[in-house]
């Protein structure tokens, strides 16, 4: 900083401080909007009880739906092909398997989206559905 510079600053001291504070204010405004824009989408927060309840309901319904579909398909097969009760037994068991698979996928999907939210980045959520 040269002496002339310093003297110029001294001369225009009051307005300089004002300008500085205005710039500081502008900058904090800009940072605030910037972070608001880049914040992860406001989904249900991971911590609160409501979303834990939601997770529980989701996993349960994934499982139950698969068992119901398996049983329904088995019952239908039995009625159409007259293989009672083997279609119902086998497809019900397969339905249980599908239910476990559904739950595993759903929980991995939730873990992935939570990790993405934690990283505060927005890369596309990795949907690796293949085993």
């Amino acid at each position: 900083m040269t002496p002339q510079d310093r003297s110029r600053r001294g001369a225009a001291g009051g307005s300089d401080a004002e300008r500085l504070s205005k710039r500081l204010h502008d900058l904090s405004e800009r940072i605030r909007t910037e972070t608001a824009e880049h914040a992860p989408p406001k989904g249900p927060g991971a911590g609160d009880h409501g979303s834990r309840y939601g997770v529980a309901i989701r996993l349960a319904s994934e499982f139950v739906a698969a068992v119901l579909v398996g049983a329904g398909l088995g019952w239908l097969l039995d009625r159409l092909a007259g293989t009672s009760p083997f279609g119902l037994i086998i497809l019900l068991l397969l339905g249980f398997g599908a239910g476990i698979l559904n739950m595993a996928r759903a929980s991995r999907r939730m873990a992935n989206s939570e990790a993405a939210a934690a990283a505060k980045a927005s890369p596309p959520i990795d949907e690796d559905e293949d085993e």
Binding site: P41, S61, L101, P124
Partner: protein
Amino acid sequence: MTDPLHQFEIHVIAPLFSIFGVQFNFTNAALFMLVIVAIICALLYAAFANPELVPSRLQSVGEVWYEFVHNMVRQVMGEDGMKFFPLVFSIFSFVLVANMLGMFPYFFTVTSHVIVTAALAVFVILLVITVGIMRHGLGWFRLFAPHGVPIAILPFISAIEVISFLSRPVSLGLRLFGNMLAGHIVLKVFAGFVVSLSALGITGIFGAIFPLGMAVGLTALEFLVAFLQAFVFAILTCVYLNDALHPGH
């Protein structure tokens, strides 16, 4: 005590026409669906009728609404999934407004009827199958045969995969229906306790404080559930459509 299921009854408002002996009626459910669509259109129109650089309150609500769905679609499906954005936005808005409208006393909750949620879910799954076959031809069915599986257990794995796929509309529709139905029944039962207990005199009135507190707490929870279920329905729509766009990815 009042009947907790009374709120789900469907009344005929105006009979319309009958085809092959099947009577079509304009019911309270149909009326509320029209109201939902009208509310969505009116809100969005009011929000974006004269947009400004510094948004007004209503406009920022509209922007948050839009960007929320926009981010969701782009995160799950990527850029080429954006052509499904209007669909996902419509489904999300419809379910959200239906759930929220159901929170008003004496209003009818459209999403507490399984036929409505099942129709939405089946529509989504049929769309997934259609888009998958249009995009990838019959190769899309490789979704049911993950590679790297030994040939001996492939039939089992395929059967499980098919059942898993078929269970998607069931879980999608039943979850929304079950949440809304159960929430409204529980709310009604607790509110009914307040009324019947307070009829018992002074001890009953003090005893009614507990169910009253529960009803207040449950109302808050129901608002959360109403939003959460709309969110879950929309994001699972995105996830399933992603399977149609990028199978086995």
